[in-house]
Assembly symmetry: C2
């Protein structure tokens, strides 16, 4: 089947670009002796995770227990879940999963650690724990090396847990110092920081400047999007994920309406202007969206589309787009090669 025969809006993945993106990051991390543990939240597709592993990744990263379950069922054996898992039913699910795969986790509080410990100890399991720290992301994570060291020591005291290292997101100038200070604090306890896991596609090519990093989690690098292009981490020609839309209306000389809106692209702007880049009309601006319509200003374009014309959109943020589609269509040239269900989409937390 040719791409032109697919109904729109459709999310396609250029397989040549996907494979090149996988190879490029793997080679870079190999060259610098950093383990690659890609984040599958971007694609949520087991077959792509297997491509990443076959290229040399040591395991994968998931953001939800449900994602990890889907990946485990697809035969993936080493999963990092950098999330505070809380609550009886989730903890019960977690230990069942930990029987089947090598599972490592993060925590940033005594509360999370005590829950994990109790669940693991009951099942005679040992869970590998990294302490999450915050150096400006203002999400989860302890605020100081002293706090990090305190949780590391608590992990060694709690049954069913093993201290494995530190984790943060995103990488920045304070990352190295935080790690060194925490290591210094733990030296007296004889506690080694085996893993230092850092993530983020925009800063991935900076990883080798931070010798503290032992493993890297990148997600968006696999698809690319307008945001990662703007960050300089990938080029427009690397963008593997594209959404093909049809122009369904031309109500005025300047305005055109696409058949993709906020339920196709999400409303993530990430500081960008407009809701995506139309490759055939780079001067056009998707100035607003309704749920199933993209509203485009073509006034700056010399040529303007006819109703019925198909256009190719590079979305602002690939992770949320793949979360909105039930399937991704893998293409090579103008031919459809594979249709992947987005198997871990909508999985329970």
């Amino acid at each position: 089947m040719e791409i032109s025969q697919l109904e729109t809006p459709v999310a396609i993945v250029d397989l040549d670009r996907l494979e090149a993106n996988i190879t490029r990051l793997q080679n870079y991390l190999d060259e610098h002796g950093i383990a690659n543990r890609p984040h599958i939240k971007t694609h949520k597709i087991p077959e792509i995770a297997h491509l990443q592993l076959r290229a040399g990744a040591i395991g994968i990263t998931c953001q939800k227990l449900g994602e990890a379950e889907v990946m485990a069922q697809a035969g993936i054996e080493d999963i990092f879940l950098p999330y505070n898992i809380i609550g009886q039913s989730k903890l019960a699910h977690l230990v069942r999963l930990a029987r089947r795969v090598r599972l490592s986790l993060t925590a940033d509080s005594e509360f999370t650690l005590r829950g994990l410990s109790a669940a693991a100890y009951r099942e005679r399991l040992e869970l590998e724990l990294l302490v999450e720290f915050d150096t400006g992301g203002q999400r989860c994570g302890v605020q100081s090396p002293q706090e990090a060291a305190g949780l590391a020591r608590l992990i060694t005291r709690l049954p069913g847990l093993r201290f494995a290292g530190l984790m943060t997101y995103p990488l920045n100038d304070r990352t190295g110092l935080f790690v060194r200070e925490t290591k210094a604090l733990l030296q007296g306890d004889g506690l080694a920081v085996e893993r230092v896991s850092v993530g983020g596609t925009p800063c991935m090519w900076e990883a080798h400047h931070h010798p503290e990093i032992s493993e890297y989690r990148a997600g968006m690098y696999i698809y690319g999007d307008r945001y990662t292009v703007q960050s300089g981490a990938v080029t427009l020609e690397d963008c593997a994920l594209q959404v093909i839309c049809t122009v369904v209306s031309r109500p005025t000389a300047d305005r055109g309406i696409l058949d993709g809106g906020s339920k196709t692209f999400s409303s993530d702007l990430l500081g960008l202007d407009g809701h995506g880049l139309i490759l055939e009309y780079p001067e056009a601006r998707i100035y607003s969206q309704s749920e199933e319509h993209g509203h485009v200003d073509f006034s700056r374009c010399e040529r303007r589309p006819e109703i019925g014309e198909r256009v190719t959109v590079i979305p602002n943020h690939c992770c949320v787009v793949s979360n909105l589609f039930n399937q991704m269509v893998g293409v090579r040239g103008d031919q459809v090669e594979v249709i992947w269900p987005v198997a871990a989409r909508g999985a329970l937390q």
Copy 2:
């Protein structure tokens, strides 16, 4: 099962409120002699559509052909699809659907009309067409009564099509005038405007001030959200859709992190401040989101949550939230009564 036993983040629907919302709008429209044709894009659940029909709705509105297909398969017999359907495979699908249900459509261009006509004529079908007009929404729709009348006349000339009326979104002060002017233009042709279909929850209680309206499409009224509360159309106590989250981290005295982010709530702001209202902490502000985390500033709250505490969030925009969940949990009091798959979620356009 009790609500407290559900894993978070979970989207729950208060069935008492849902039923009251259905009844309230139906009674109002009945009182004013306006047909009710609710928009199911908000819930995408066949069983809820049937509740709306049993309460007195004359049919439903869908925004995508795939949604209409799911609803037809659930036994719904009268579907309005106010979308320019374009392309051979979609038109083929459309006429198959039109054999099974009473299907009406909109168009705002000769291109759309000619495609529909050819597809319908080939199958010896007659499709009911409304002309979409634009009075400020800046989405689809013809720009003048003259254009509307021109398309109406074209419909009468094209085989396989029947002119049924006019459609717009949203309702505003120019709606009535546009309809009256178009009717006047068509009077000489002997063309009656049977249906005038208008939509939008924020302005639904204004419908009776516009005698031109013959049927109303509201979607969000069934769930309610922060946006419709702010518009004054519903109250906070009417909001049937709520998302229960767990506080998974308290990294600083002011900051708390929820287990729901942009893949739970979307990033729709709709002019509101923050990404949702936490009922237990109305002074808190969800100031940003990552994909699976909500970042909350609790500094203005007297009391602050502990890690592990569950909170109830009224989302900014219910339609995009229900599009992100695979299921909705219907509750009555603190008990789970039904679990509905969001059957038309992710359906093809």
